[in-house]
């Protein structure tokens, strides 16, 4: 009865690594698909409001973003705790919006310019005063297509 015999006598057997490339590729694909390039770093805290009648923003290249919210912790001693506007990577005031819109519009293709949409990404708790000022500035800048960014509300009925 020598069937049960100690097996590995000389060295450990090599682990089969022929599937490693597959796994690596899989991870690669996964990250390629799921990551969205972040163009700006948010300097304001935004918790999106909720709504149900949402429309999707289709072409990213046509959209200009305006962020509104309370500055993040590390900027609070500089910019206070009142809701502020962020355009691109920096804090701005309402008066900067017109030139920002004009600049963004110039960067677009001429055929796309009428389709330009401005997405207002504002915190749910910020007062309407700021938003209204932005809206008035956008009217002056003739950027009339806007989109109030919101999350899908989970309905409980």
């Amino acid at each position: 009865m020598a069937k049960f015999r100690k097996k590995n006598k000389g060295g450990q057997p090599a682990i089969n690594t022929s599937s490693l490339p597959d796994i690596v590729f899989m991870l690669l694909f996964f990250f390629m698909v799921s990551t969205t390039m972040k163009e700006v770093t948010l300097k304001v805290q935004i918790k999106a409001p909720e709504a149900t009648e949402l429309a999707k923003l289709e072409k990213k290249s046509l959209v200009t973003y305006i962020y509104v919210g309370v500055p993040s912790k590390q900027y609070q001693n500089l910019f206070g705790t009142e809701p502020r506007i962020q355009l691109n990577d920096q804090f701005a005031t309402v008066s900067d919006i017109q030139s920002y819109i004009a600049q963004e519009r110039d960067a677009m293709k001429e055929s796309d310019q009428p389709k330009m949409t401005t997405s207002i990404k504002a915190d749910f708790d910020c007062p309407m005063g700021v938003i209204t000022d932005i809206k008035q500035a956008l009217r002056k800048a003739a950027a009339l297509k806007i989109n109030y960014s919101a999350r899908k509300k989970v309905e409980i009925n």
């Binding site: 698909v33 799921s34 709504a51 429309a55 999707k56 009217r139 003739a142 806007i146 989109n147 919101a150």
Partner: protein
């Protein structure tokens, strides 16, 4: 029977497993798409223009939102959950009531001559209104229009509004034009 080689694990199917996983993740991950409420702002009003003719009281559905996020609809305090029905009744005016908006007959493609409401929803908010509250009101008003259009599409075409082609959608939109006017905000509550 001295040295026996350890049999290798068959690795031929790991590639399949990897692809299976890949496809699983591809299907389940949702990309971070932006969504929101689409709106058109009114074009800037040049200064020194003649004031537009006043709209009749019955044609205006006034919605006021104060800094405490309370809703005043047509002079009455209202909960946000009732706003949609109230707006729908205003737009539709099913019984041709005197206090609800007038209608005028216009030629609509596909539908022929139809009565279209002259009603305008006027939304006014305070500078201190919470953004979420404002958006909820906008949302409810939008929902009222969406439901009316959906109803009409179901009745006329037996299809959902989203499934209609462009001309049909346009016709439905002509029957129920979305007229939400936003007045300049007041600053009563302060902020």
């Amino acid at each position: 029977m001295g040295k026996r080689e350890i049999p290798e694990v068959n690795a031929g199917s790991t590639a399949d497993i990897a692809f299976l996983l890949l496809i699983f993740f591809l299907v389940t991950t949702t990309m971070d798409t932006d969504s929101g409420l689409a709106r058109m702002l009114p074009p800037p009003v040049p200064e020194e223009t003649v004031a537009p003719p006043p709209i009749k009281e019955r044609n205006v559905f006034s919605v006021l939102l104060n800094s405490q996020n309370q809703l005043l609809v047509e002079g009455e305090l209202m909960d946000i959950s009732e706003l949609k029905e109230a707006a729908k009744e205003f737009i539709e005016n099913p019984l041709n009531a005197d206090n609800l908006p007038e209608k005028k007959e216009i030629e609509v493609p596909i539908f022929g001559v139809r009565e279209v409401t002259k009603g305008v929803i006027s939304l006014q908010n305070d500078r201190g209104t919470q953004y979420q509250a404002y958006l909820m009101v906008q949302n409810e008003l939008q929902a009222a229009y969406t439901e009316l259009r959906e109803d009409l599409a179901k009745r006329k075409f037996r299809k959902s509004y989203d499934e209609l082609d462009e001309d049909e959608q346009k016709a439905v939109r002509t029957v129920y034009p979305q007229k939400i006017s936003e007045a300049e905000p007041k600053n009563v509550g302060g902020n």
